[in-house]
Symmetry: D3
C-alpha cells in the first residue's frame, strides 16, 4: 500500500460507478501536498469551426474510468511516487474569450506558485496561450513539444489576435518559448501559402509534417527530440486533432491524413527523462465524438503523459 | 444564505463544469446530518431486453447539472429546509444479480437506520425489490406509487424469481406492501393473458392503464391517490418507461402509447403532503439515449420528487 | 397449448435472441394452411427525399421481438384463432422501380389466390399501388383506410407516374377503390395549391387533416369510419409518417404536427369488425431512426393491425 | 406564373439537390426589391450549457428543402404576393460576443432602412437583443411575442450583461419594448426564486407558463394575444426550446414539459393580421439534433411565420 | 489578388457560414469562362446494399467549407491558374436509374463540349458509366485510374446491366477505355470466383489488390502508374469505399482491410502531370456517416484531385 | 451447383433482404450432416465496463449479409467442401452468469459429440471458459490462439472467479490448455503490475504485445505460430477489442493502440493448415457500434476463420 493517492480499483467499485474525476483519483480542494494537479479548462469559444470542447473535460474524465494505474508497455507507475489529484475545473467565463484567458493565466500563476505540475484537459487550444504566459513567468522561456494538425501560428482570425489558431505566434512574439526548441509534429492540411508553415521555421521552430511520418514508428523521432531538448524546462501541448480523424473524430477542426494512436504513444513514451513543467491535451469535442473513442484516446494519452512526468518511477 | 447544502450556481461555475453529483450538490462521505441521501445503483443485469442501465446514475447526474434549486411551477424550494447530498453509488457486484440484491438490501438497511430518506437513481427495476425489503423492515408494509409501462408482477423469467419483471409479485408475497394502497400507473403493452394485470388487481392493487389516461391531465388522479393513501408511509418507484418512447427513448423495454412528461409532472406534484419514505427512478439506459433527453427527463423527475418530500417548504 | 403458430416466448429464448421474423413467429416456406402471411417488401427507390426504407422490414422485425401475443388493452389474442407466419421478403429488383412494382403485383396475386390475408412491411409507399392492383383483381374495388401525412395523389413526380407520391391517384384512376369509402387521416403539411387535397375530395375521398385531430381521442372518428365502411372489403395502409416526427423520426418525408401513438392505436382498435382483406405499414427508414423507436412503433402498430383482422378472438 | 421568387420545385430538381438556401429560394445579393429577407445569424457564444447553434442556419436551410410553397392548413401562399429571398448569413465575429452583437445591430439597421422585413435563423437567443435595438430605432418600442422555455430576464450571467439569458431584461431596461404588450409563452422549469418570473410581470409582461397550456389548443390564447396587440408593430421571437424536448431535442438548454408542435402551429397561425415587423427562430443546435427533427421543426415554424407576415394572401 | 474564383476566406465569413458550394467557391450558372466545373450527381438508386448516396454532394460540400486554397504538402495552388466554380447538381430522375444515366450522359456531353474539365461528386458509382460514355465521345478511349474496394465488373445484378457493380465491364465492352491502361487499386473482399477479378486482367486491366498495399507508401506505385499512362487522356474515378471503413464508414458497401487516407493522398499526389480529362468521387452515404468524417475525407480527396489537374501551378 | 449449403446470392434476393442468419446460410434445426455449426451466444452479463454484447450475434448476422462465398485474397471457398449452417442461439439465462456458463458448456458438449466444429458469435468473453471446458473434454488440452487487448488472466473480479477477465487463468488452472501453445496477441493497455502479463508467461503462454506489432505485417508471426502449433488441436478465440477502436469502436472495454484489420486478416490467413477444433469471435457490443463497422468487421473475421477451417479447399 502506497502513501500516494490511487485511482479507485475496479474491484472495489464497478468502473461505471464512482466520482467523475480523472481515473477516479481523489478530488483535491487544495494544492497542498500535491506534486501534480490534473484540471479541466472547459471552454470552446476560441474555436473557428465546430464547437463543443466545453464538454471535453467532463467526457475525458468519464472515459478515463477504465484506465488502471500501471503502464504495461513501459512499466511506469505514476501513482507510486508522485502525489496526484484532480482539482476540478477552472471557473472560466463562457461568454468572454478574453476574460477567460485572463482567468486561466491567473489560475495557473497561483498553481505554479506552489510548485505543482499542472496537467490540463481542454477546452480548445486557445487555453494554451495564457498557460504558457504563466509558465514563462515561472520558468522563463520553455521548450515546447507541440503535437497538432495545425501550426496555430496565424496572426489573427476575424481580427482577433487570441484564438485557437494564433497561440504559438503570440507565444513566440511574447518570448514565452525557446524558439529553436519548439517541435511541431503532425502538421498538415491546407492553408493560404507556404509561409503558413515556413515563417515559423524562420523563427527556429522545428516542423515534422504528418506526410513525413506515415507508415513508421515515431520512437526514433521522439528520442531525437528528447536529446535535442536536454534538461531545459519543456511544456507539452497535445492537440487531439494531430491524430487522424479515424482515431479521433470528436474534434473541432479535423484534418485527414493524421497520426495514429500507436504513433502518438511511441512519441510520448520517448519524452521520459525530460523536465516537463506542464502539459495539456486539447480540442476534444464530445458532441462530435459519437463513439466516445476520442475522449477515450485523450484519457489514455493524458495517462501516458502522466507516465513520463519527472519523478515517475517504473517497476 | 442558507445553512443547507445548495447546488453549485451556474453563475459561480459554468454548468458544463464541476462535480458529476446530482444537481452539483456536495458529495457526502457520511450520512451524518443528512435528511435526504441521493444515491446511484448502477446495475443492468436484471434486464430482459436491452441492457445499459448500469450507466444510468452517471448520465442522470450529468444532465442534472442544468437544474436550478427553485421549482417555478410549484414554488417548492427543496434545498431550503432539508439537508440533501449525493452519497455516490452502491458497490454492487456486476457479475451477480443475487449478490447485488443482497448488497442493496444491506446498504439500504444501514441508510434507513439513520433516518435518512433514500432517493435512488437506477439501474434496472430489480433494485426496487431489495429496497422495499429494507423499507418494510424499517417502516412495515408501505403504500406504493408505481409508475411504469409494466406491472412487473411476473412469477419468474427464465426460471429466475428476482428480475426486473417480478419485483412487485415478490414484494406482495413477502408482505412488503399494503396491497390495496398500491397504484400502478401507465401500464400497457402486450402480455400473455388478461391475468397478467388482473391477478394483481385481485391482490388489491389499483391499476391505471395508460390507455385510460390519454389526452388529459393527471392532476385529478394524483390527488385521488394522495387522499387514498393518507398519512401512511409510501414509497414511490418511477420506471422511466412509463413515459412514451418519444419522451424517453433511452430505456430497455420501451412500450409505445405511454405517458407524457407533462402528465408525469402533474402526477408527481400531486403527491405533495404524503409521507414519502423513499423513492427511486429506474430503467434509464444511456447507450440507447441518443439525444440525452431520457437522462434529462429522469433528472427533472427526480428533482420533482425531491420537491414533494415531507418537510420541503414552498416560497 | 394451441394448434396455431405462436411467437417464441421470452421465457424459452431471451428476447435478443432467435430468428429475425416478425414477433419471432415461425418462418413459412409455403402459404399452405396459413390464414395470414406477414411479409417484407424492402424497397426505397420510390422515395423523393430521404431513402433507407429498404431496411424497413429488417428493423421492424428486429424490434418486434419484444411484443408478446396478448393485447392487454383490447383482449385480442391474434394467435389463438388464425394461423399466421412470416413468409419472408419479396424478391424485388432494387435497380428498377417499374420492375419491382410488377414483381409485387404478381407476388400478391399468387398470395391472394390462396385466400391468405397479406400483411406487408414496407418499403416506401409506392408498394401499395401494385398491392391494390392485385387486391382489386381479387376483391374488386375496396374501401381504403389511409393514414398518412400526405394524400399521395400527385399526378406525376419528375415525369414519373408511379412513385410513393402518386399511389392513390393511380388507384383511383384505375378503379381499384370505392372512392367514397376512402379515408385519408392525418394529412397535413405544405403543397402547391388547395386542390392538392380538395381534388381528391371531389372524387369522394373523405379527408381528416391532422390539424382537426389534435388534443383528442380518435376512437370516435375510428368508430364512424368503421360504421361507414360496413361489411365491404377494406384495405388498410398505414404510412408511419402520419405520426408526428417526435414519435416516428425514422421516415423519409417527415411532417411536423402529426398524430401521436395513442391516437394511432385508438384509431386502429376501432377497426375491429371490418372485413380487412390486407394491410401494410410503410415508410420506416432505419438509417434515420437513431433511437430505433420508429421501427418499434411500426412493429406495435402492425401487431395492433393483426389484432383487428377478421376472425381474431378476444379473451 | 408569378413575378415573385419561388422555391425550386421538387419536380424540377430533386429535393436533396440544389442550393442550401431557405426552401431553395433564390439567394439575393442585394436587398433591392425585397419585401422579406431571410438571413442566418450563425452564433453560439452566448450560450450557457450546450453550444452548437452556430450551425443552426445551415441545418435549418438543409431541412427546409422539403417544404412546398402553399400552406394546406391555412391557405396562405407567402410567395404569391411578397418578394422573398435568402440573403445569406451575417458575418459575425465568432471569437467575441460583444463584437458580434454590434455587427448584428449594424447589419439590422441597414436592412431595416430599406423597409425589408427581416426573418432571422439563429444562432443563440443573444442575437435578439441587437435585433430589438435596431427594430426599436426604426419602429419605436414594439410589442413582443416571445415563445420560450425561459423568460431570459436574468440580470447577468457570470458577470456578463449580454447573454442568451438576459435579453429581455436589457430590452425592457432600454425601452425597446411596449412592456405590457410582451407575451412570454411556454416558460417553465427551475430557477432561483419566484421573482425570476414575477419581476417581469411587474414590468407588465404577460406570462403563459407551459403548465397552464397542457392538453389543449393554443388557438384561443393566440387569438387573445392578437386582439390585445392590435395594430401596433410587433416582433416575434421563437426559441425552439419552448417545445418539449421530444419535439425539439437539438437545443442547448432543453426543459421537459414543453409545448407540442401542434400547439406551436396553432399559436403562430393566430398571429395572422398582426403588424409583424420582424421575427426570428433561435437556439437550434445541430450537433444535438441526432434525428434532424429539430431543424426540420424550425424550418416549418419559420415557414408558418412567413405565412402570417403582413401582406401575405391566402387562396 | 488573383483574377480567378477563390473560396471565401474564413477571415471574411465564419466557416460554418456562407453558401453550401464546394469549398465555398462561387456558384456558376454558366460554363462560360470556366476551366473546371465541380458538380453534384445526387443519386443512390444504383446501389445494392445501403442507400443514401443521394445526399453525398450536399454533405461533401458542407464538410469542404474547412479547406483552405493552398496545399501545404505539395505547394499546389489550384485556384491560382484555373477558373473553377461549383455548377450545382444535375437534375437526375430519382425514380429511374436508366433515365438518370441518360440525363447524366447528355449533361456531360454538353459540359465537355465547352472544354471544361468536369469534377463530379456522387452519387453511387453507376454515374461513372454515362460519364465515361460522354468522355469517350469527346476524347476517345481513355486511361482509367480506378480506386475502389470493388472491381465493379459484374455482368449483371438482378438482371440489370447498368448498376454500380457493372460499370467497368460495360465501359470495357463499349470500348470507352484503353484497357491496358486501366488501374484498379484497393480491390479486395469476397466474391463468387477468382475470375471476378482475373477476367478483367485478361482484358488488360492492371489490378492492385489492397492486401498487396498494406503498411507502405503508395507513392511508388502512383509514380509507376503515372509513367505508364504517359500523356494520354485519363479519367480518375475514386470510390470512397477503397478506404478502410475506419477512415470512411459512411458508404454503401464497406469492405474491411482497405486503404488509409495517407495512402489515398500519396497516390493522388503522384498523378500530377497526367492529362486528366475528368474525375469523380463516389459512394459517400451521409446517413451512415455518423461522424461526418467520410464526407470530410471525400472533400479533401476532391481537393487533392483539383491540385493535380493539368495546368495547376505550385508555389 | 454444389451439394453443400450456400449463402443466398445477392442476385436472387437483395442483400438487405432475407433471413438474419450468418451470411444468409440456411438455418439448421439439427446438427445432422453438418461439418460446421455457426451459433450465437448472446450474453453480456460477464462484462465489467460497457454492456451490450447480448446483441452481438444479431448484428454480426445482419452485417454478414454482404459477404460473398469466395475469398478473393486466398482463393478459399469454404462452402465448396464443408456443410455449414447457422444453428441459431444458445438459450442462455440472461439473469445468471453461472447458470449461463453451465448451459453453454452442456450445449457445447452436445454439439461436439456429433463431431461438428462449432463457430461461436459472442457475447462477452466469459463464454469461452465453458466452451474450452467442453472442448477439452472432447479433445483434451488444446493449443489456443487468443487475439485480444487483454490477457484475461485475472484471478477474480469483485470476488467472482468466472467473468470475461478471468477466462484464461481458469482455463490454465483447469488444465484445458497446452500452456506453452497459448498465443496471446495484441495485449496492451494498463494494469496493476507487470505480473498481470508476466505471470502467464511463467505458465508458458507466449505473448505478443500490440506495441511490438505496429507498422508491419503479421503474416510472419502468424506463420511462426502455425508451425509452432503443428498438428495438435487448436482453438481460436478472437476478442474484437484486439483491434484498435478506430477499426472496432463497438466493444465493451476498448483500448487504444490496437491492431488493424489488415493485420487481423494477415494473422488469420496464416492459420490455414491448423487443426482448428472450434473458434469464437466475442465482445461486439452493438449499442456502441454507431457505424455498424464493428459488427461488419466481426462478420468478415468470422468469414476468414471459416476459410481456414480444416478441409476447406481453395480454387
Ligand atoms: Mn491546435
Ligand atoms: Mn489543431
Ligand atoms: Mn419496471
Ligand atoms: Mn417498465
Ligand atoms: Mn404515403
Ligand atoms: Mn407520407
Ligand atoms: Mn431564449
Ligand atoms: Mn430558451
Ligand atoms: Mn465502385
Ligand atoms: Mn466500391
Ligand atoms: Mn477478452
Ligand atoms: Mn478484451
Amino acid at each position: 500500500m502506497t502513501e500516494f493517492n490511487q485511482p479507485i480499483s475496479g474491484n472495489d467499485l464497478a468502473r461505471f460507478s464512482g466520482p467523475n474525476t480523472f481515473m477516479r483519483l481523489p478530488q483535491a480542494d487544495s494544492l497542498e501536498g500535491l506534486d501534480v494537479a490534473i484540471l479541466g479548462v472547459p471552454m470552446d469559444i476560441g474555436t473557428s469551426w465546430r464547437s463543443g470542447t466545453r464538454f471535453g473535460p467532463k467526457e475525458i474524465r468519464a472515459e478515463s474510468a477504465m484506465i488502471r494505474p500501471y503502464n504495461m508497455a513501459t512499466g511506469a507507475a505514476p501513482f507510486d511516487s508522485l502525489q496526484m489529484a484532480d482539482i476540478g475545473d477552472l471557473a472560466i467565463n463562457t461568454f468572454s474569450l478574453s476574460d477567460s484567458l485572463r482567468i486561466i493565466q491567473e489560475s495557473y500563476a497561483a498553481i505554479l506558485d506552489t510548485g505543482v505540475i499542472p496537467v490540463a484537459m481542454g477546452g480548445d487550444h486557445s487555453i494554451t496561450l495564457p498557460i504558457l504566459r504563466a509558465i514563462a513567468q515561472k520558468h522563463g522561456p520553455v521548450a515546447l513539444v507541440h503535437v497538432d494538425a495545425h501550426a496555430d501560428v496565424n496572426d489573427e482570425m476575424f481580427g482577433e489576435r487570441e484564438t485557437h489558431g494564433t497561440v504559438f505566434r503570440r507565444a513566440y512574439e511574447e518570448g514565452l518559448l525557446v524558439a529553436d526548441k519548439v517541435y511541431q509534429i503532425g502538421i498538415r492540411g491546407s492553408g493560404y501559402a507556404a509561409t503558413d508553415f515556413t515563417e515559423a521555421q524562420g523563427w527556429g521552430f522545428q516542423q515534422f509534417p504528418a506526410w513525413e511520418l506515415y507508415h513508421r514508428s515515431l520512437s526514433g523521432m521522439g528520442g531525437e527530440i528528447r536529446r535535442d531538448i536536454g534538461s531545459r524546462p519543456v511544456y507539452v501541448t497535445y492537440d487531439i486533432d494531430s491524430l487522424d480523424p479515424a482515431f479521433a473524430p470528436g474534434t473541432g477542426t479535423p484534418e485527414i491524413g493524421g497520426l495514429t494512436t500507436p504513433q502518438a504513444m511511441e512519441l510520448i513514451r520517448e519524452l521520459k527523462g525530460l523536465n516537463i513543467v506542464g502539459c495539456d491535451l486539447v480540442e476534444v469535442s464530445p458532441p462530435y465524438d459519437t463513439s466516445g473513442n476520442t475522449a477515450l484516446t485523450a484519457a489514455n494519452l493524458l495517462y501516458e503523459l502522466l507516465c513520463v512526468l519527472p519523478g515517475v518511477t517504473a517497476r
